[in-house]
């Protein structure tokens, strides 16, 4: 398991979701990706994207005024 980070700050939805989707596509099942965003919509949208595409949300919340979503990459090819 490798841990990765993605800076999706200062962009608006759906771009944080698209960046997350594209980054997850490069990772292996079991890898963990921490996404940071400033669009509050990312707090709903990234977990929604994870649910429909078979990835696990380990954490979703706000830290220091930023949205933080931590994802464990699933076996899905989505």
């Amino acid at each position: 398991m490798n841990r990765h980070t993605l800076d999706a700050r200062r962009i608006l939805c759906p771009l944080p979701v698209i960046r997350t989707q594209d980054r997850v596509a490069e990772l292996a099942p079991g890898d963990v990706l921490e996404v940071r965003a400033t669009d509050p919509g990312a707090l709903n949208d990234i977990p929604a994207w994870c649910r429909i595409n078979g990835h696990r949300v380990l954490e979703a919340g706000e830290r220091d005024g930023e949205v933080v979503v931590v994802i464990e990459v699933g076996n899905s090819d989505g």
């Binding site: 200062r10 608006l12 939805c13 759906p14 771009l15 979701v17 698209i18 989707q21 669009d39 509050p40 919509g41 709903n44 949208d45 929604a48 994207w49 649910r51 429909i52 595409n53 899905s76 989505g78």
Partner: protein, 347 residues
């Protein structure tokens, strides 16, 4: 299981595409969604920016629809490719700068490319004949099939029975008798079908899901092209057109004035790219200056910025002017009276 046919549905986040996908899923077809981000999508951007809208529930409707349907959704960034659709639409624009027919052709063409790359069999859209004046007419629906290259791999489940059978129907992958014959602008058939499927909560944006159908937004985009002397844009341009009050005192520069805290915060992200003004003697908005302003122009910009500060009735207001390199200086100016800001400066 390996014989199961697969379709990709263009999911906008609205009701029609949701229903179209569901109609095909009901026939045992494996459906996944595809959603194209052009940069002009209305999707929550302004809600994300404006503080007063932050109390509203925020969701990406395309993701939400996919979750309701239980299907995967692939969101594709087409910002760069989409420029050719906006700048040079073969079929022209609709009422504003909306190139609806070219847009639909482009999206179906990209979906056609996607199904070939991913081993899917056909494409579904939520189009309804007669529903939209440009892209959903009896004579333009075949244009989309032809120009996208998708031909009869494009199935419109909601109005299929008004149209010639497509390959999925002829091959028996789907039962034509279970497809629908919706037409016209009435929403009643869609609402009845939604009720049948138990869909109670769905988005029905009045002007569609694209900023280009909005007259005020299109006017700002046309103004940008006129001022630059060329028709072009990047993502920052089109995002900034969604934010703030745009005031153009002269062809070679304009001001973008934050209207509230959320917009000011958003504009903060552009401080390094534009000269900007901020009131220091009174509370006031962040103001970006776009274009090629000279010294006298910056002083006028400062007077306009002062007019939108809480010092608007004071004899003098002090502002800080910061240039993209970081160089800054203070300016003390008399706020420009509203009567001296002509209506036609407001873009």
């Amino acid at each position: 299981m390996s014989d199961q046919r697969k379709a990709v549905a263009l999911i906008s986040g609205g009701l029609d595409s949701m229903l179209a996908a569901k109609v095909i899923m009901e026939q045992g077809i494996h459906v996944e969604g595809i959603n194209f981000f052009t940069g002009f999508c209305v999707e929550g951007h302004t809600h994300a920016i404006r503080k007063r809208d932050r109390a509203r529930p925020k969701r990406n409707n395309a993701l939400w629809v996919a979750e309701q349907l239980g299907i995967k959704l692939h969101i594709i960034d087409v910002i760069e490719e989409y420029k050719q659709v906006v700048l040079n639409p073969r079929h022209g624009y609709g009422q504003n700068l909306n190139p609806c027919l070219d847009c639909k052709g482009f999206m179906v063409a990209r979906a056609y490319e996607w199904i070939r790359e991913h081993g899917f069999d056909f494409i579904i859209t939520g189009e309804v004949m007669g529903q939209r004046p440009m892209s959903q007419r009896r004579d333009t629906l075949p244009v989309i099939q032809k120009e996208s290259g998708a031909g009869d791999l494009l199935l419109r489940p909601l109005c299929a029975r008004h149209l010639p059978p497509t390959l999925p129907e002829r091959e028996g992958w789907v039962d034509r008798d279970k497809l629908l014959d919706f037409s016209g602008r009435s929403r009643k058939p869609q609402m009845a079908l939604a009720a049948k499927y138990g869909f109670e909560d769905y988005a029905q944006p009045a002007g569609g899901c694209c900023f280009l159908t909005d007259a005020a937004y299109s006017a700002k985009l046309a103004d940008l092209w006129r001022a630059r002397g060329r028709r072009d844009y990047d993502l920052d341009d089109i995002m900034l057109l969604k934010v703030g009050r745009h005031i153009r005192p002269a062809p070679h520069f304009k001001l973008i004035v934050g209207r509230e805290e959320g917009e000011n915060n958003f504009l903060e992200g552009y401080r390094k790219r534009f000269p900007h003004l901020r009131c220091v003697s009174h509370p006031g908005p962040l103001v970006l200056v776009d274009g090629e302003p000279g010294e006298a122009d910056l002083e006028l910009a400062a007077r306009i910025a002062a007019r939108y500060s809480q010092g608007r009735t004071a004899p003098a207001v002090t502002l800080e002017l910061v240039r993209p390199g970081g160089e800054s200086r203070e300016l003390t100016v008399a706020p420009l009276p509203p009567a001296e800001i002509p209506e036609d400066w407001h873009v």
